[in-house]
């Protein structure tokens, strides 16, 4: 079956959404107290007066620069901001659809507290003060922070803090640090933990790819035509198809990247490691590697070489595992080295696929290094970073706070590790943490959680378990813009404004063409929503003192300090004093009253301090400290700053701009050497072996791709028109694709009597979901695929509610053994027509 011959015909069969304006939808329980909603989602354009505000997009994680056109206080268009070297002069469909995120009628508009059962989605609209009070003191439905902390004797780690990726994640993390918990989880372990760490330990950094100058690119398990990353996506696809760069795409399915590649080779899911080991074998055996580079920059090269050769990782061996013909592997290895150092094995930046993902990424990094294409034009590059100034935060010492809820154990082989994985990182392992919590394997009680811009219900494998976790948490506080599935389980909901209504922490963007960029507030926050910094300001001002009272009650250090405040510990100055302040201080502190003493100790525990200044003020300090007032002005007026921008930046064609002259570009910053502590490429990590992980990338039989007859391996991925669950309710994006479809091989589908658009039930050990079928030859007979982010269960989301299939309802929660990441492509599923 051929679909999408023309865009219109494709949608004709699949979209019933032709008229939106004026249609009435059922009022959800979440918003039951509201009047009927006005669904004004038509776009409009005026040609009258407008103001233009430079900002940064937040429809995904890329942070592309946009210019918002504002007419009479209404954002009428988002255009690309050409001044930003990272995103150059583009906005993707999601970036364009940002207006509909701002004006989404389902947005969280007011603070709310839970009045129904947990997860039921029944809330009551309250004032901000009432919401803060509910967090502090609880209601008849849930306990407050004070009760929990008092009962847990001021163990601050009895609260979990988690956040999604975003420019204000840092602001929320400041709250976590000040609160004093040690339990922090973010997107890493369900995202790029293994790739970032593997490149980190092997090359010393997670590098960028100079796709502008590479002439040969292997893209395996990355899909830059659909999972858009700037600047990579824009740069790469102008040069493929016989136009300067040869792109070899390795993917189990025929993606848009495959369509734009010069060669596509399907591979069995989870077997990329065997492919890379075989490439390495060819290069070592035929001595095609850059000998000079290896000599100067490798540790344990001979050991690695011996490891690869003696294990017999030949193309013939890999061919049986991967299904890539041996001849192709020889060709690719040889071509890669011919093009080196302008050859790139693209690192990718997405979720962990298989349990061997960390070793795969290590093997990729070492293979790249063998070519000498490190810190070099046309290869992998570290790039330059423009430093920012510093901002003070507050990290009080809570004597009673317990360490992180991870346990170090002696493994079966007698090595030391953690009970979930070999290495525990600051970002934690989400599913391991969740499962430990559910199975009562915590070293102490965790009873509440603060969630910021994060949707655990949709974003990690095994939705059922996540729901159990949220139900078991006695106090759940959610800060978000949308009534997500996770928000439905909250006790207190605090509405954040969208990215177009707030200024976020200024950020630095390293690369060959480094810059600093700032998200500027475009319009005032709508409804009663606020930026997270203001939410935290209000909350901490409310809870700082009462929480200190609990600390006073349980914390012996604080009790001691209050009893014996020593003069030397304080510096109190009198503004009118003419005597030197140190003399004055001694005099003043000896005469401190009990209240003054308490005020002094409290100052160290006043968690509202980091949030006193506005974001605009903080940003101005951060940049003016290093680059002066010029940078502050540039960020306000243009959204972007880098030294010599005025000189360097110019338009070079109707579509293109120069950011740096060629000789100013930071292709090489480290003389070609890796950035590891030893200054060498680390082939053999002995300390990993101590933790029970392979010190060198090693293939194991258990990694082989196995699917029982009648079942399918489920793979998942990203999409150019949707960003996970965050955009699932965006009406302009629904206009492009109404729902997600499961890809199933056309011949297999025909045998099963499944036609395009048929509803099928997909089930695994974990659960099941229902989704429409898309029979196609673009996928193997024993593999199925659908994009992540659909199938929401929150009935407060008009367009996302029960629309499509939710992958995490069926993906098994399998923990990758080194960093505890979620292995997303290890689940076999069954399919039946419903």
């Amino acid at each position: 079956m051929r679909v999408e011959v023309s865009r219109r015909r494709f949608l004709q069969g699949s979209v019933a959404l032709s008229v939106i304006g004026g249609a009435s939808f059922g009022v959800t329980s979440l918003l039951a107290q509201e009047e009927e909603r006005e669904l004004e989602v038509m776009t409009k354009t005026g040609t009258g007066k407008a103001k233009f505000v430079p900002t940064l997009c937040e429809m995904c994680v890329n942070k592309c620069a946009a210019i918002a056109r504002v007419e009479d206080g209404v954002v009428t268009k988002l255009d690309p901001n050409p001044m930003f070297p990272k995103s150059k002069n583009m906005l993707c469909p999601r970036g364009n659809a940002g207006i509909q995120a701002l004006y989404d009628p389902d947005r969280l508009k007011y603070p709310m507290i839970r009045v129904g059962e947990k997860g039921e989605g029944k809330f009551k609209r309250v004032t901000w003060d009432e919401a803060y009070n509910a967090i502090l003191n609880g209601t008849d439905k849930f306990p407050g922070v004070t009760k929990i902390l008092d009962e847990e004797e001021d163990n601050r780690s009895s609260f979990l803090f988690c956040a999604g990726e975003g420019m204000a994640e840092h602001t929320f993390k400041t709250f976590y640090s000040a609160f004093g918990s040690t339990n922090w989880l973010n997107h890493s372990s369900i995202c790029l933990q293994t790739v970032a760490s593997a490149y980190g330990v092997t090359l010393g950094a997670y590098p960028a790819a100079d796709l502008e100058n590479a002439t040969y690119i292997i893209m395996a398990g990355a899909n830059r035509a659909e999972a858009i990353v700037t600047p990579d996506t824009m740069t790469l696809f102008k040069r493929t198809k016989g136009r300067g760069a040869k792109l070899v795409c390795i993917d189990p399915r025929f993606t848009n990247t495959a369509a734009k590649a010069d060669k596509w080779l399907p591979i069995n899911p989870g077997t990329d490691l065997a492919f890379v080991l075989a490439l390495t074998h060819v290069v070592l055996k035929e001595e095609l590697y850059n000998k000079e580079y290896v000599e100067a920059n490798f540790n344990d090269f001979e050991i690695y070489k011996n490891h690869i050769i003696s294990n017999g990782y030949t193309p013939e061996w890999a061919s049986k595992i991967t299904m890539i013909p041996a001849g192709e592997i020889y060709t690719i290895a040889r071509e890669f080295m011919q093009h080196a150092p302008r050859a790139i094995y693209y690192p990718g930046r997405r979720s962990t696929f298989a349990t061997n993902d960390f070793q795969l990424r290590r093997a990729m990094a070492i293979f790249q290094a063998l070519s000498g294409g490190i810190d070099a034009k046309g290869g992998l590059v570290f790039g330059k970073k423009l430093e920012l100034g510093s901002h003070e935060s507050l990290e009080p010492m809570y004597f009673q706070a317990q360490g992180r809820a991870v346990q170090q154990v002696t493994k079966a082989n007698g090595k030391i590790g953690y009970d979930d994985c070999a290495i525990a990182t600051g970002s934690g392992s989400w599913i391991a943490w969740r499962n430990r919590f559910l199975e009562n394997r915590m070293p102490y009680k965790v009873r509440g959680m603060f969630i910021y811009k994060h949707n655990p219900m949709m974003n990690m494998p095994n939705t059922k378990k996540t729901a159990q976790m949220l139900k078991k948490m006695e106090l759940v506080v959610a800060i978000d813009t949308m009534p997500s599935d996770t928000v439905m389980y909250a006790d207190v909901v605090l509405p954040e404004c969208t990215y177009l209504e707030r200024t976020d922490p200024v950020n630095t963007f390293p690369g060959v063409e480094p810059s600093i960029a700032q998200r500027n507030k475009v319009i005032e926050p709508m409804y009663e929503s606020k930026p997270v910094i203001e939410i935290l300001r209000g909350l901490t001002q409310k809870i700082a003192k009462p929480l200190f009272e609990i600390t006073k009650k349980h914390d012996m250090d604080v009790q001691d300090s209050l009893a014996n405040l020593t003069p030397a510990a304080t510096v109190v100055t009198d503004e009118n004093a003419t005597v030197p302040s140190d003399t004055n201080a001694t005099v003043a502190s000896t005469t401190l009253s009990a209240e003054q003493k308490e005020a002094e100790v409290f100052a160290e525990f006043d968690i509202s301090k980091p949030f006193l200044e506005s974001q605009e003020e903080i940003n101005a300090h951060l940049v003016s400290e290093v680059y002066g007032e010029e940078a502050v002005t540039a960020l306000k007026e243009h959204g972007v700053f880098y030294p010599n921008m005025k000189q360097f930046y110019k338009q070079t064609s109707v579509n293109e701009f120069q950011y740096y002259p060629e000789k100013e570009k930071a292709y090489t910053i480290n003389g070609g050497a890796p950035k590891t502590a030893s200054g060498k490429v680390e082939c053999n990590l002995a300390n990993l072996a101590e933790k029970g992980a392979d010190p060198m990338p090693t293939w194991k039989d258990e990694y082989a791709f196995k699917v029982p007859k009648g079942k399918f391996r489920l793979i998942t991925g990203r999409h150019a028109q949707f960003t996970q669950s965050g955009t699932a309710n965006n009406i302009a994006l629904h206009d492009l694709m109404h729902t997600n479809y499961i890809w199933i091989n056309a011949r297999v589908a025909a045998d099963m009597g499944i036609k395009f658009g048929d509803e099928v039930e997909v089930s695994s050990k974990t659960g099941k979901t229902t989704i429409k079928a898309y029979p196609t030859e673009q996928i193997a007979p024993n593999v199925v695929f659908f994009i992540h982010g659909f199938g929401a269960e929150s009935n407060a989301l008009t367009w996302a509610y029960k629309n499509g299939g939710n992958d995490n309802a069926i993906i098994e929660d399998i923990v990758e053994p080194v960093y505890g990441a979620s292995a997303m492509h290890e689940t076999n599923v069954e399919i039946r027509k419903v």
Binding site: V41, P80, G95, N96, A97, K238, P781
Partner: protein, 187 residues
């Protein structure tokens, strides 16, 4: 006075559909699958898995071709469809009686009915929005991640589009119909 045209470096297209959203947001086009001034067409690759032909899976952005000899203009009984001073094929909603002759006459399927005004709508190169404000790019061109589109004046020999069409091989769609499209697909 100019003669506007557009060159499409279509091999750059990754079918992300940024152009479609930008067009709708800029020009206030109705939502809905049938309401598109511009779109990206795509083919599934020829072959049977795993032997698929990548070259057969090209993405083709398409829209009104702004024909020099536009069949839609020829059949319009009320002169609602007209050529403006810049050679852009436009529709005057006040004159349109929704007879739909133009929709049938157009070989490129480039026209649709705006159900708010009950008139026929189509691409006008952002003439009453961006160009009217003095901008020099269309919304689709401006937002395109891989810079497929180059809009400009064909009368100006030094314009980027004129230079491009002099220096690179290109084709037009359904050339044999004699419509003389002003959308040029660059090879």
């Amino acid at each position: 006075m100019a003669t506007y045209g557009m060159a499409l470096d279509y091999k750059n297209c990754i079918n992300c559909k940024a152009c479609e959203v930008a067009c709708k947001e800029e020009n206030g086009i109705e939502l809905g699958a049938e309401k598109h001034r511009i779109w990206v067409g795509g083919n599934e690759p020829d072959g049977i898995w795993p032997l698929l032909n990548a070259a057969s899976a090209a993405f083709m952005p398409s829209q009104c071709q702004h024909c020099e000899e536009a069949p839609c203009e020829e059949v319009c009984p009320t002169h609602a469809t007209y050529y403006d001073d810049n050679g852009v094929v436009r529709v005057d909603p006040d004159k349109c009686i929704l007879c739909s002759y133009c929709m049938n006459a157009c070989p490129y399927d480039a026209r649709f009915v705006d159900s708010r005004t009950m008139t026929v709508d189509k691409c006008n190169f952002c003439s009453n929005t961006r160009l009217a404000r003095g901008e020099t790019t269309t919304a689709c061109q401006n937002t395109c991640p891989t810079k497929v589109r180059i809009f400009g004046d064909l009368d100006d020999p030094n314009s980027e589009i004129s230079v491009l069409l002099r220096t690179r091989e290109h084709f037009t769609l359904k050339t044999h119909l004699g419509t003389k499209p002003k959308l040029f697909y660059v090879m």
